[in-house]
Amino acid sequence: MKVIQFYRNEALLIKKATKQHRDAQHQLYEKYAPKMLSVCRRYISDIHFAEEVMLNGFLKVFLNLKNFKSEGSFEGWVRKIMVNESISFLRKEKQILFTEEVKSYTEESWNNVNTELEVEQIQELIDSLPEGYRMVFVLYAVEGYKHNEIAKMFGISESTSKSQLFKARKMLQQKLNQQNRINNGAIEI
């Protein structure tokens, strides 16, 4: 009953927000802003810029709310807007460099990698990646986009997207191994 009431409430909020009711917009913002700021933060390392991008994303959400079809989830629609806004921000601010294709993919062992990381550590690892690697990695591994979609999004070939992912993974593995070695050494000491 509570779930049904929540969806009814959300639908009502969306309806009111479409008619530019400020309270309804505020409620929707309060509900989705923390999640969406997290989404923007995955792409943009500076939290202030990430927040600015999120606000621009919400502005687009409220202005184009009439275009939202109730077929899909509202959260998914808002998240898509946030991702697109983040990518367009990065495109404007920085020129994203995509390195050339890598034809031979060599898999390294992930056996020794410690996956029990805090969210902040994960975010630090992602932030340490170059722009091109990070974008493709987050879009593919976290957001669930496919290579052809990413290729279309950035105007690159699918193989370039794959090579970016491969390099991102390799770099992450190296960093994790390095971190593990430090942690182990620290333990050993």
């Binding site: 530019q20 400020r22 917009q25 505020h26 913002y29 309060e30 802003a33 923390p34 999640k35 700021l37 997290s38 933060r41 995955r42 939290i47 990430a50 927040e51 999120m54 606000l55 621009n56 919400f58 502005l59 409220f62 202005l63 992930w110 056996n111 990698v113 996956t115 990381l117 805090e118 969210v119 994960i122 975010q123 591994a141 976290v142 993974r169 593995q173």
Partner: protein, 278 residues
């Protein structure tokens, strides 16, 4: 450990993560929404203003075109569309002209009568006829000057002058008679104007509006009547008629000449034949 498993765990943790935005973030967003709505409204207003301006411009252009066409018609009707004031002015002008003509004719009469008196022995020139412009008056003045110069010495020239004066007096008398016979055209015009005004008043009483065309037709009728009355009641002959008469006379003389030539030629031949037979 496979990379997919690591990524799945990473995804789970990232999805669970929430970052609280700054406290004034909502205010900033609200102000952004307001600004964009104001801009949207302004752009909408500008759009509607532009449409309204185009519409008004089109209306003005059409009105200008229409007014131009109407003024074109007005320029045509201005010739005919005469107010009472204009009619009165025209009438006064006509009356003034007629009065001037009468004055000239009266002056001529006076001159003629003075000359008549002069013919009986008393020769005195009067300065009244200096203002008269007609030929007769000029001739009279010349005659008087001649009379002054020859002051009773040359009787033969005096007789000739007297004959000429008599002729002039005859002409003057005929003109006077013609003027007396012909009715006063001012009265005719006044009558016609009164008629036209009465008709217009009747039309105004009957109809709510009197059109320019109706007034024009009435005025044209009045003009025709005036001209017809003038022609009928006056003994004067039109210039075209005079010219026609002159041309007819010329033609007659030519015919007569041809006939005479033929006649003389026939007589010559006749005499020549008669002489040969003799």
């Amino acid at each position: 450990m496979a990379p997919l498993k690591f990524e799945e765990k990473m995804k789970e943790k990232l999805d669970q993560r929430v970052i609280r935005p700054s406290e004034d973030s909502w205010k900033r967003l609200a102000s952004k929404i307001d600004d964009t709505q104001i801009k949207k409204n302004e752009s909408k207003n500008i759009f509607w203003y532009a449409i309204a301006a185009i519409f008004i411009g089109a209306l003005i252009m059409t009105s200008i075109f229409k007014s131009n066409s109407i003024t074109g018609v007005d320029t045509d009707t201005k010739f005919v569309n005469t107010d009472d004031k204009n009619v009165q002015q025209e009438n006064t002008e006509v009356v003034q002209k007629e009065v001037l003509n009468e004055e000239i004719l009266n002056n001529q009469d006076e001159v003629v009568t003075q000359h008549k008196i002069d013919t009986h022995g008393i020769v005195e020139s009067t300065p009244i006829h200096k203002r008269v412009v007609s030929k007769n008056s000029i001739d009279h003045s010349r005659i008087i000057k001649k009379e002054k110069s020859s002051a009773g010495n040359k009787s033969s020239s005096k007789d000739n002058d007297l004959r000429g004066l008599e002729k002039n007096t005859d002409v003057a008398h005929t003109q006077e008679q013609a003027i007396k016979v012909s009715p006063n055209p001012v009265h005719i015009i006044d009558d016609e104007v009164a008629k036209v005004v009465a008709q217009i008043q009747e039309l105004q009483k009957n109809n709510t509006e009197v059109t320019d065309n109706e007034i024009n037709t009435l005025l044209l009728e009045a003009q025709r009547e005036i001209t017809a009355k003038k022609i009928l009641k006056s003994n004067t002959v039109s210039a075209s008629a005079l010219l026609q008469d002159v041309e007819d006379e010329i033609d007659e003389t030519f015919k007569q000449r041809v006939f005479e030539a033929l006649k003389t030629g026939f007589q010559k031949v006749k005499t020549a034949v008669a002489e040969r037979e003799n």
